[in-house]
Subunit: 420 residues, 2 copies
Amino acid sequence: MHNALYAQAGGVTAVINVSAAGVIETLRQYNTPRIYAAINGIQGLLDEELVDLTQINDAELERLKCLPGGAFQACRFDLDTLEKRPDQYERLLQIFSYYDIGTFFYNGGNGSMLTAQKVADYCQSKGYPLRCIGVAKTIDNDLAMSYCSPGFGSAAKFLASHFLQATLDIQSMSASSTKFFVMEAMGRNVGWLALSAGLVKDVIADLPLIILPAERAFNEQRFLHKVSQLIDKHGYCVCMASEGLCDTEGQCLSVAREEHAHGKVYRQFGGVAQKLAQLVEQALQVKTHSANPDYLQRSSALCVSATDWQMAYEAGAAAVHAAQQGEHGVLPIIEKVQDQPFTWRFKSYPLADVAELELRVPDDYISDDGMDITDAGLAYLRPLVMGERPMIWRQGLPALQPLNWKRIAKSLPSFATDKN
Amino acid sequence: MHNALYAQAGGVTAVINVSAAGVIETLRQYNTPRIYAAINGIQGLLDEELVDLTQINDAELERLKCLPGGAFQACRFDLDTLEKRPDQYERLLQIFSYYDIGTFFYNGGNGSMLTAQKVADYCQSKGYPLRCIGVAKTIDNDLAMSYCSPGFGSAAKFLASHFLQATLDIQSMSASSTKFFVMEAMGRNVGWLALSAGLVKDVIADLPLIILPAERAFNEQRFLHKVSQLIDKHGYCVCMASEGLCDTEGQCLSVAREEHAHGKVYRQFGGVAQKLAQLVEQALQVKTHSANPDYLQRSSALCVSATDWQMAYEAGAAAVHAAQQGEHGVLPIIEKVQDQPFTWRFKSYPLADVAELELRVPDDYISDDGMDITDAGLAYLRPLVMGERPMIWRQGLPALQPLNWKRIAKSLPSFATDKN
């Protein structure tokens, strides 16, 4: 029996630490000698920033199961290619060997799976017996092959719940004040989270709603026409838009920042709601308001979906089971078993099949006019936001004290991660 | 015994309907013959848009106690002066007489109290025995004379809770991603809500926090210096800013819209967080994120403070008691009785003493550098966010179906509210 190592990467979720707990508790079932976590993902691993979780106590595990954010820090850092930075790969092998790591669990989204795959390939080529397993996670829900992604259900539940509450607010004031309210959903180039606004139709019948998923080009004229029609009929209109919304020319409405790295363009979005509100105000001469919940939607322990929580836990457990069964270079992802009652299971796919791919919203979830969700879309979303988790409050605030880990004293020579 | 009328005005809160329930249940204790509500405040009253609540059932009352937004619609509409529009006042008297209204409860903020006072003065001058009583409400916490305002504690609890959760998110990713996160708080020209970020220090010790309350002029250089220092020391910095933040020249950073009406300038703010994020990004070359929860902060039944809920209920009850004791032209406001345990009571003040005044954050709640909260400020805030309310969920979303009221058939000639 060898030791195990766990690390987190990419944008965090409200339940990523639940996956960590799933990994740790399942590793214990298999009597894993030592359980380590790297602090700050693969970047911290290169720096030998490690924590020994073998003796983690039950109270800490329970706190892990409630804490949003990455309790072990999540990095936005990709390994370079082997050709460019062989030293990075050699360093990882050095760390794995020194700590006798037999399995490496990397908890991340589609981008992080590419890193996991590079590690798996390299170790295999060197004859080092590392089982490299991905642990699925992303609020964007864009993990290829997977029915859905751990982290998505909770973010969707946050957005739908708060969009509902804001709708009650504007509904009550629209006669003499705001007539158009628009909120911005994360998800980069995919509109899964924006679609969650559709769930509010289950609570408020005949909701004057517009959804602008990133999968459809934004047509200003048709949008303004629909807003105007809905305000005429209902007195107000509410809208949820994908942050990565682009027009028919392919121009995104709100690029906050562009970054070029590793030959790729990384775009940070932000501000589409404000832009749409200004557009409506100027064109239709009505009072508007916009909200951008930003990180609030992916960090809310207060709005965790119990279904999503369970999926996040099982994502961790499934990764450990896969390793025990001798799999490597795989990511266990969610497969729906049946609709009534909604059941699912994890099934392993090669990392190469999912890395860097992007699952977009299928056509039949979006209405013909491109500005609403279909019944098929609603049927997909409903089970994913189902159920709640208890919250412990202390002195009026969520009892979410960060966990402080004691780092292992470094034993290896230091490594210049950022050289070049 | 005469009948009673209730109406809502101004920006709504998560607990304004709790005050409605307090009014209704207390009126019942006094065996009020008929209990009416106007739909859409004084504007709906002029239009004879009325609901008869005398037979409201317990289930509806319980729903009122949970629903955010204005269940009876809240108007942003001021009466003109008596000189300019005597017909408005005559119309109100006509309505009051026809429905035999003996007490009028107007649930609103400092602006709405001016309207209530105009009504009270006019009726008194005409010898009509109307008791006009205000019911306190505003998330801004700027109601003059009052220790705090019903609606504030819940908005502060929402902001602090979600700022805490977002901080856990950025804390975990700051090593390789976002280093500065800024969130925008409502409150127009007052910084009460922005101060709520300080409560997060009770959960995360040594929090690298900057608060920018509207009471202090924004100094770009000193702000950037503090951000830079905090990032250097902690690896990240979180900030909460008042939407109405202005610079040392008196220029507000983010005026979304300006409206001139009734000889006053009404400014709609929005976008200060995004502006500050861009500023930090450009000056310090770090990745930033910004959030603007907008209506989410004032409509969250999910984050209601039990203390605030109780205050909102008592605001309604106190108004009815005041009327029964023969008071008129008053607003019952909150007076602190003692700190340990925190107790408070309602005390009536003449509407003229509170109308249109604005309670700003006192100097000793803001640190000397103008960018933090003091211990005195924290001691003030803590009891106001204390306690939680249960939420009923249905199919994954808060069970917050809007209440639909059956309007009374109109009996009086129609009235042109907006003539001129």
